[in-house]
Symmetry: C2
Subunit: 156 residues, 2 copies
DNA sequence: ACGTATAGTTGAAAATGTCAACGATTGATT
DNA sequence: AATCAATCGTTGACATTTTCAACTATACGT
């Protein structure tokens, strides 16, 4: 069999299951696109010793919103104990710092350091590249529209 | 503080981080909507002792396409060894059966039994209800458009 | 002041993900 | 025909992630 024919057959068998009704299921589509995107994102961020999770925390820490760990947990849909581990690691690397909450001394706000801001600037470039890879099959308008719909589904 | 004021404040702090630039990140939006959706899906499927994963396998087994385990792994973005575990469990429950591949005796095709088809019919109702909950903020047209875009991103 | 609730932290347990090896089978090459 | 590399399902080991229950310190309503 020629290489070209092999590729064709691979493509055919790869998409064979597309006919199944699960391809109409939003949950499945979400899961699959997210799975593929995670791989690319994490690959892109590995260069900076970041993963999707720590990258997310770093962005929020750098937002000027001074999120508390509880807010991070809620916003990122993670358990508070996972936030502890993420912030621990970023703090050890001097990318973020913890500060006691101003009104609530139980809470700790997480803020990016100058070093964190700097690393984030570089990582964001790589992440944007990864995102455009994930959405490569969409036009710019379609990609924008997809984000609009996702945001609306999440927050109305 | 009144209950109403509490609720308002909760809503306000809940969305406080929306201003962060991560809300523009497709990977994050995908992850978050998927996370929320998984909870609802699994909750809906628990009644039938199914999870998202086993439900997906059951749908594909019931599709008439007679997928092999390798095809299931590729399509569901799972490791082949995870498919083994999923099919083991469904087979134990007599919801699917394994059969040797027709052209390739290494492969095993997975097919739903009558019992599997029957359970799937019920589970699908619950799953559809969960999906419409996840996408409740979207109109029918928007939900359809979202799926179109997700499919296009995945398969062009 | 008291009781209840919440923020962060720790640590353990359960679930999931990743990977390397293996036997059986296939297909290509000689 | 014999061989060799590749693939399928399976197993088991290991790492990572998720989930949960406790605990301390702090906050807040009564």
């Amino acid at each position: 069999m020629t290489i070209e024919a092999q590729d064709e057959q691979q493509a055919a068998t790869k998409d064979r299951l597309l006919a199944a009704p699960i391809s109409q299921d939003a949950g499945f589509l979400l899961a699959k696109l997210h799975a593929g995107g995670s791989v690319l994102n994490n690959r892109a961020l590995a260069e900076f010793d970041l993963k999707e999770r720590s990258y997310s925390v770093l962005i929020l820490a750098n937002s000027g919103l001074e999120p508390t760990q509880r807010e991070l947990a809620d916003f990122l849909s993670l358990d508070p104990s996972q936030i502890v581990a993420l912030v621990d690691e970023l703090e050890k690397r001097k990318l973020v710092s913890r500060a006691p909450g101003k009104q609530d001394r139980r809470a700790k706000t997480v803020t990016a350091t100058a070093k964190g801001t700097q690393l984030l600037a570089q990582a964001a470039v790589a992440a944007r590249r990864a995102e455009s890879e994930v959405l490569a099959a969409l036009s710019d308008e379609e990609a924008a529209q997809l984000k609009v719909l996702l945001r609306k589904a999440l927050w109305g």
